[in-house]
């Protein structure tokens, strides 16, 4: 493993995104537009303040999941992955490079969306505003890590895109946003305990209602970062130099 090659790879991925201006614009604008829409449909009600934060964590997660899945699938299909695997690049350098590049994009995206939600849309939570942004960044990282890992199992774009309804929407249903997790049937509650998005939503809900919940949020953030590390590690482990 080489930190230099990891950074060189991250730089290359970011350069690719920079050449694709529309993707860059979509990455930054879409979560803001969705938050704006959410604030608008719940105008003059307290609902935006109660579900705004969990959804602020959800949108960057979804977007980064999709972008990362497709980017790594493209690397595989274009033959550049095969070339890279014959070169002195460790698998961890490649996966780590992607994680750094998309992690950086995710950070910018979550910063912009979070700032927009709090200052332009007036999202009002009991906890500190900066905590919202920290959790949004961590959630976006989680989307990146999940995309990196799952894209290894997608042979085509059709499959990669369907991994969203297959692996992300069940997490959305079970994360506590529709029905609080402790009121789910037992089996589903246990399932939600091992799904990373549950902790993302837990952290955001805690910030929403509790002014002094730093420790609880830190625990959730720690768990999510644990998932991120495991998923990135699995992403590197499932990459095979020799294929059929």
């Amino acid at each position: 493993m080489s930190p230099r090659l990891m950074l060189v790879t991250a730089g290359r991925v970011l350069r690719q995104v920079r050449h694709d201006r529309r993707t860059l614009a979509l990455l930054i604008v879409v979560p803001c537009v969705l938050m704006g829409l959410l604030a608008w449909i719940y105008a003059d009600t307290p609902v935006f303040d109660s579900i705004g934060a969990p959804l602020l964590g959800m949108f960057p997660f979804l977007v980064m999941f999709l972008v990362t899945s497709i980017a790594t699938l493209r690397e595989r299909q274009s033959g550049t992955l095969e070339r890279l695997l014959t070169l002195p690049l460790a698998k961890a350098d490649l996966v780590g490079g992607y994680a750094i590049a998309f992690g950086a994009l995710a950070t910018v995206q979550a910063l912009v969306a979070g700032t927009f939600a709090v200052y332009a849309l007036g999202l009002d939570v009991a906890g500190q505003d900066w905590l919202l942004i920290v959790v949004a960044v961590v959630d976006a990282l989680l989307g990146t890590a999940l995309g990196l890992f799952l894209s290894a199992f997608a042979a085509t774009e059709f499959q990669a895109v369907q991994f969203l309804p297959a692996f992300v929407l069940p997490q959305f249903l079970l994360c506590g946003l529709l029905v609080p997790r402790d009121r789910l049937p037992d089996v589903l509650h246990w399932a939600s305990d091992v799904l990373p998005l549950s902790y993302a939503v837990d952290a955001m809900r805690t910030i929403t209602v509790d002014a002094s919940a730093g420790a609880d949020v830190a625990k959730d953030v720690g768990i999510i970062l644990g998932f991120v590390l495991v998923l990135v590690g699995l992403g590197a482990a499932t990459l095979r130099r020799r294929t059929d």
Binding site: R4, L5, V8, T9, R12, R15, Q16, H19, D20, S78, G79, T80, E82, R83, L84, L85, T86, L87, P88, L89, R241, R242, T243, D244
Partner: protein, 262 residues
């Protein structure tokens, strides 16, 4: 570039290579030795196993049996990755980056020090004659230019062994001739090249020919040797004659190479 090749040890050694893909035996049992500095042409129709053999040599192909060594080391092992250049059949570069950005990335990956990258990029760009397009986005290039970018990416870091899968496909005759001049020059500097093609007239450029069909070598000889043994006028005629011979042998119930090795 390898200055003092070890005496007696081949650059590429394949022994009893067997590859099975999707339940089908693609290579039943191949053996091959390539000495240092040789330009070997791997000729045969598409689907005959050329790419599979090349992928085995660069170490990205799952193999079912046999030995594949490059520069005395098992294929695909870590120390070899600095020393082997691989051109995949389809151009494998990033179409959303410029020529320079692509080559600078691959140069960094093969270990070119930061200060040497610009020089290395300029060197390979000049070799494949893409100087006027160095800041063009690869996606905007023509097919021939695209395959030259891909070739340039295989040349960065001046590897000792080059495995080039159809490097001249789709190129015009002038460019093909120029590339063969480069390949000869690389070999003169000590590099070993295995170059595949389904264009039989490229045979005249090679020190040695491997005529391949259905995962086996029909011939392993110089062009003049192949022509003499078949009485054919050119490589294509020789290839057809060899295919006919193999078919006649099989029809007569004689043992073919595949029955011996499997």
């Amino acid at each position: 570039m390898l200055k003092n090749p070890p005496v007696g040890q081949p650059a590429i050694r394949v022994e009893g290579l067997r590859v099975v893909r999707g339940g089908r035996t693609v290579i039943p049992g191949l053996s091959l030795e390539v000495p240092h500095g040789q330009v070997v042409g791997l000729l045969g129709p598409s689907g005959c196993g050329k790419s599979t053999l090349m992928r085995s040599i660069v170490g990205v192909q799952k193999v079912a049996g046999g030995v594949v060594e490059v520069l005395g080391l098992p294929a695909g092992t870590e120390p070899l990755r600095h020393r082997i250049g691989y051109l995949t059949q389809a151009p494998s570069v990033y179409t959303d980056l410029t020529v320079r950005e692509n080559l600078a990335y691959f140069a960094a990956v093969v270990g070119t020090p930061r200060s040497g990258i610009a020089h290395e990029v300029a060197r390979v760009v000049e070799m494949v004659d893409l100087g006027s397009h160095v800041d063009a986005s690869v996606g905007a290039l023509s097919g021939g230019q695209l395959s030259r970018v891909s070739l340039a990416a295989a040349l960065v870091g001046a590897p000792d062994v080059l495995v080039l899968d159809e490097p001249t496909v789709g190129l015009d005759p002038v460019l093909r001739r120029d590339l063969w001049v480069i390949f000869r020059r690389l070999a003169a500097d000590g590099a070993t090249l295995l170059v595949s093609s389904h264009v039989m007239d490229e045979a005249v450029r090679c020190d040695r020919l491997l005529l391949m069909r259905e995962g086996e070598f029909l011939a392993d000889d110089t062009l003049s040797g192949v022509l003499a043994s078949t009485g054919a006028a050119d490589a294509e005629q020789a290839f057809l004659a060899l295919v006919d011979q193999a078919r006649d042998r099989a029809a007569a119930g004689g043992t073919t190479t595949s029955e011996v090795s499997s």
